[in-house]
């Protein structure tokens, strides 16, 4: 791990440098909560944020997206969309949220490439910020990840006191640290980063047991367990909207008599309408069907198809669930159910 040092005094200058080349989105405090918003001034960034209320997913996969516009009626015409390829940066993204992009990349990149997501992804710089103060419901370490991992960002900043320890993980990152603001790190800096990382890792108190979870789930699909778990679900869909790896969407036409657009909107698998067919038949009519599907999608189907669990341990669904359905608890208990 060869690293660099950025002094805290130089942080605003560094952010300004990034802002010179990119539209920058960063954690900003609004009414005691942190959100990723476009910043105009480096001072707006909250470098000490705990966890953003919403993941930065919408910066790549927009909550609503016009896929194309059209003229309806007899003189039908289709107007292709303008896909904005401007340079953007997420400054201060947490390692867990950065990993979520890596998890949903194949959905949008493979087979039929999604030009909306891919264009944004290719033009997106990720400046990570190590999580030094994990939330009570954080559990990224259950997946062998670290709150101070540079694996899925271009460069990673770790607060080691009066300065940031900087790790580089991509060609884009290499270019950035060429700036005179970055100095080579010493062995002592590196040791300090490891200490900070260890402290963060040790402050994570919750663990999900995921050993062979995909195989275990294969054996308990029909178990009564899923009904017990799902009985309190209000089908509000909060878990899916807060989840950094949920990628399901709906497509609807929004149109007047004169003009219209085909629009993609985030959807939620927790409502029956999601799978309801026109005939009235519904393959997932019950809450147990839907809760089970969400858990299996992340802990069984995703590992089967893409060899990765589609959860990063951010804990947002646990914080947000109005009836305290706790994914750590659900999955850990599922692994203990006797087939």
């Amino acid at each position: 791990m060869s690293g660099y040092i950025l002094s805290k005094d130089n942080l605003p200058k560094f952010i300004t440098e990034i802002m010179g080349k990119n539209k920058v989105f960063a954690p900003v405090e609004v009414n005691d909560e942190t959100y990723f918003k476009e910043i105009k001034n480096p001072k707006d960034i909250n470098m000490k944020y705990d966890n953003s209320k919403l993941p930065p997913k919408s910066l790549l996969f927009c909550q609503t997206e016009t896929l194309f516009k059209f003229t309806p009626g007899t003189k039908v015409k289709i107007q292709p969309p303008d896909i904005n390829n401007s340079k953007k940066a997420i400054f201060g993204i947490r390692p867990c949220d950065a990993k979520s992009f890596f998890i949903i990349d194949p959905v949008f990149k493979e087979d039929f490439e999604d030009p909306f997501y891919v264009t944004r992804r290719d033009n997106m710089l990720l400046v990570g910020l190590s999580c030094t103060n994990p939330y009570p419901n954080c559990f990224c370490t259950s997946f062998n990840d670290s709150p101070a991992s540079s694996k899925h960002v271009d460069i990673l900043l770790t607060d080691i006191g009066e300065k940031y320890f900087v790790e580089v993980n991509s060609e884009k990152g290499k270019k950035i640290v060429k700036s005179s603001l970055f100095k080579p790190a010493t062995k002592a800096d590196e040791t300090k980063k490891k200490e900070v990382e260890k402290k963060a890792v040790n402050s994570i108190t919750r663990f999900q047991k995921i050993d062979k979870i995909d195989e275990k789930l294969d054996k308990i699909f029909e178990n009564h367990f899923w009904k017990e778990i799902a009985d309190k679900c209000l089908r509000c869909g909060t878990c899916t909207y807060l989840c950094p790896t949920c990628h399901c969407f709906d497509i609807q036409d929004e149109s007047t008599m004169i003009e219209g657009g085909r629009v993609r909107i985030w959807d939620t698998c927790m409502i029956p309408e999601y799978t309801l067919q026109a005939s009235g038949y519904n393959p997932r009519p019950t809450r147990a069907n839907r809760v089970r599907n969400r858990v299996y999608h992340k802990y069984n189907y995703y590992p089967k198809n893409l060899d990765v669990i589609a959860c990063v341990g951010c804990g947002r669904c646990i914080e947000g669930c109005p009836v305290n359905i706790d994914i750590i608890d659900v999955v850990t208990r599922a692994g203990e159910v006797k087939p």
Partner: protein, 279 residues
């Protein structure tokens, strides 16, 4: 940058054929792409689907019900049921629709060469089988004995009536129609499709069985095929689910870890058995 996979190509409705009237109306729409190049190069295989949309109303996935051996157009056969299909049923010849595809996997036409085929359809489930039957008849020398078993609720509900009448005239196909409930003048089988299958009793020897229809029908057809001695690799079905993207991204059409839009819609019974999931 890659092209936009959500953007359809425009096609004109060339012909509309009313297959079934009334409450559960079915119409077959013949579509021709406005772009001549695309029309000539639109290649698909029996079993594949296309997303058809009325701009401003929405988009639905349909099995392509015409055979790829019929050049110059594609057809979809649509039951009037939801928002988009109701709007489609109000469309007229000359109206313009959006079409994207073809999507999904297909029947193994090469692998089935030299085999007998039993087609077992129910209701609008005949649409993908219609494509398959036409394809096989246009390549008759490649395939053996053909049995077409089809049932609908009432005589009114039988789709592709004229085509079944034509098939019945042919010597190289046996057609076995049924209706669920007795009607005056109906001399053929009365009862459900799985029961008619048992009565027809096709031999499993060197034979493929393909079925499509309501989920409950498929379930009992498969049970009865097993009774007749068909094994898991001889039984095929084509499934449907609610779909939005058609390209394995929007998430809703999964059965277990597979997406019907992308990994299906055609599954062998062996594949289906392995697949744990709601369907």
């Amino acid at each position: 940058m890659s092209e936009n996979p959500y953007q359809p190509n425009l096609a004109t409705i060339e012909n509309i054929k009313e297959e079934v009237g009334g409450e559960r109306a079915i119409k077959t729409f013949r579509l021709k792409f406005q772009d001549k190049n695309l029309q000539n190069n639109f290649m698909f295989q029996p079993g594949q689907c296309a997303m058809v949309s009325l701009l401003g109303k929405g988009e639905c996935m349909f099995a392509i019900s015409s055979s790829p051996t019929k050049k110059g157009y594609i057809e979809v056969s649509v039951m009037r049921h939801g928002k988009v299909t109701k709007a489609l049923h109000e469309a007229e010849v000359g109206d313009v629709v959006g079409v994207r595809g073809p999507y999904g996997n297909n029947f193994d036409m090469k692998g089935w060469k030299g085999k007998n085929i039993v087609f077992i359809g129910g209701g609008i489930g005949q649409a993908p089988l219609r494509c398959l039957i036409d394809y096989v008849l246009d390549n008759k020398k490649d395939y053996g004995k053909l049995d077409v078993i089809y049932g609908a609720r009432t005589t009114e509900d039988i789709s592709f009536k004229d085509e079944f009448a034509e098939l019945e005239k042919r010597k190289d196909v046996s057609v076995h129609l049924s209706i669920d409930v007795k009607e005056d003048g109906w001399k053929k089988f009365v009862g459900f499709v799985p029961d008619n299958l048992l009565k027809v009793k096709p031999s499993p020897k060197n034979t493929i069985a393909v079925t499509c229809g309501p989920p409950i029908m498929i379930k009992f057809v498969i049970q009865n095929l097993e009774k007749l001695g068909f094994n898991d690799d001889q039984i095929f079905t084509t499934l449907e689910m609610r779909m939005k993207c058609g390209i394995g991204k929007c998430g809703r059409c999964n059965i277990g870890n597979l997406y019907v839009c992308k990994d299906g819609p055609v599954f062998s019974y062996r594949e289906l058995k392995k697949l744990q999931g709601e369907r």
